[in-house]
Symmetry: C2
Subunit: 229 residues, 2 copies
């Protein structure tokens, strides 16, 4: 087996949920750093944040050896490593399409910035909505300019916050403008070439989880312990 193939098969074994849990660990480690905690065992880490110690060790094992037996993890070093694995040591300018209520809410949501994401450009089809926006570090354009602006921008991630009926056609324009990854809020399944990665945000699934919990608790059956939210 050639080295490149061997590396490929190793990375492709990593479950997507492991990646999401790395994001959780990243947040927890940042909060430990704020508390000036320098080392922590996987057990203490798990207890403090309501996680599963065996799962933490298993997730990290995909990426190498972390921590020292009997001592634990170096909080700073592990946070740096996870940040590197997640690709968050660089800033990520992001494009957003759609300035309805959701788009406006996302524009004012500052959680993205902690991880290096910044909504650098916004495209909208309604010119009146564009005119209304204050331009604090974000540029606003009409959707008709999407290909021209994005192709020369180096931006690779787009947030899709348009109505369901516009989602597929806007997606095709984003793909034509060299966008590689889309965070989709429209409640539709997007058709994209294999090289483009889509993550759908389906808010109803989270509500269905809560309904499951309430339904089964009513029958005296506890919900499985939550490790990941």
């Amino acid at each position: 087996m050639k080295p490149s193939q061997s590396r490929r098969s190793k990375t492709s074994r990593i479950p997507e949920h492991t990646i999401s849990r790395l994001s959780i660990y990243f947040r927890c480690l940042r909060s430990l750093e704020e508390e000036q905690i320098a080392t922590i065992s996987s057990k203490q880490f798990a207890r403090k944040f309501g996680l599963n110690a065996a799962q933490i060790r298993k997730d990290l094992a995909y990426f190498g050896e972390f921590g020292v037996r009997g001592v634990g993890y170096d909080v700073y070093a592990l946070r740096e490593q996870i940040q590197k694995i997640l690709g968050l040591t660089q800033p990520w300018p992001v494009a957003m399409v759609g300035l309805g209520n959701l788009g406006q809410a996302l524009l004012r949501y500052h959680g993205f910035e902690l991880s290096g994401f910044h909504i650098a450009v916004v495209f909208e089809k309604d010119k009146r909505k564009i005119a209304r926006e204050p331009g604090i570090g974000t540029l606003f354009y009409h959707i008709d300019d999407v290909e021209e602006i994005l192709r020369s921008s180096g931006i690779r991630i787009a947030i899709l916050a348009v109505p369901a009926e516009d989602a597929q056609s806007v997606t095709e324009r984003l793909v034509a403008a060299d966008i590689d990854a889309i965070l989709n809020f429209a409640p539709v399944t997007l058709n994209v070439p294999a090289k483009v990665k889509v993550r759908n945000v389906d808010l109803t699934i989270a509500l269905e989880n809560l309904a499951f919990f309430l339904t089964h608790r009513d029958h005296d059956e506890p919900f499985p312990t939550s490790s990941l939210q």
Copy 2:
């Protein structure tokens, strides 16, 4: 072991991600019904929706025997069963707190209704925002009325769409008003009694997933195949 204990330990083994995948299967089955497909094998089902056949069989096995070997699943029956497991055979009136951009976007988001969720009441601290809203099947109140209105309403699920700094204090009022389950959009960890279930919507994690994908693809390492989005 008493029967109730045996049942309890069985349910508590169900991973939370299995519940989320049931929501995905539920959507797929609804779409098969629309296409008037009556039976489908787990393999065909997996191929059609980009899922994993072994995972489907494993997830369903937590809840009983579904499908007939060599024939497959009865689409209608399986959709009904999953709907029942998820607790979605009843309507779920939901309370929402916060009428900022996010709250307004959620109020106009019609994806919830397909699964029986309906935002029945909204609480907001700014009286001007309340006055502006049209009342289409939703009642609007000042946040000061939250305990009085909710306690007699039978509503058990609340959506928290308030700024981070208000999230914990509003949560305490919701818990005092007998809310059992909270969908939290504020980027903070809520402290709640053990009986209350919280699901946090962290939009940054989805973006971090995309960053991981782009980073590793750049190094010729493919991202793990996505089964769940």
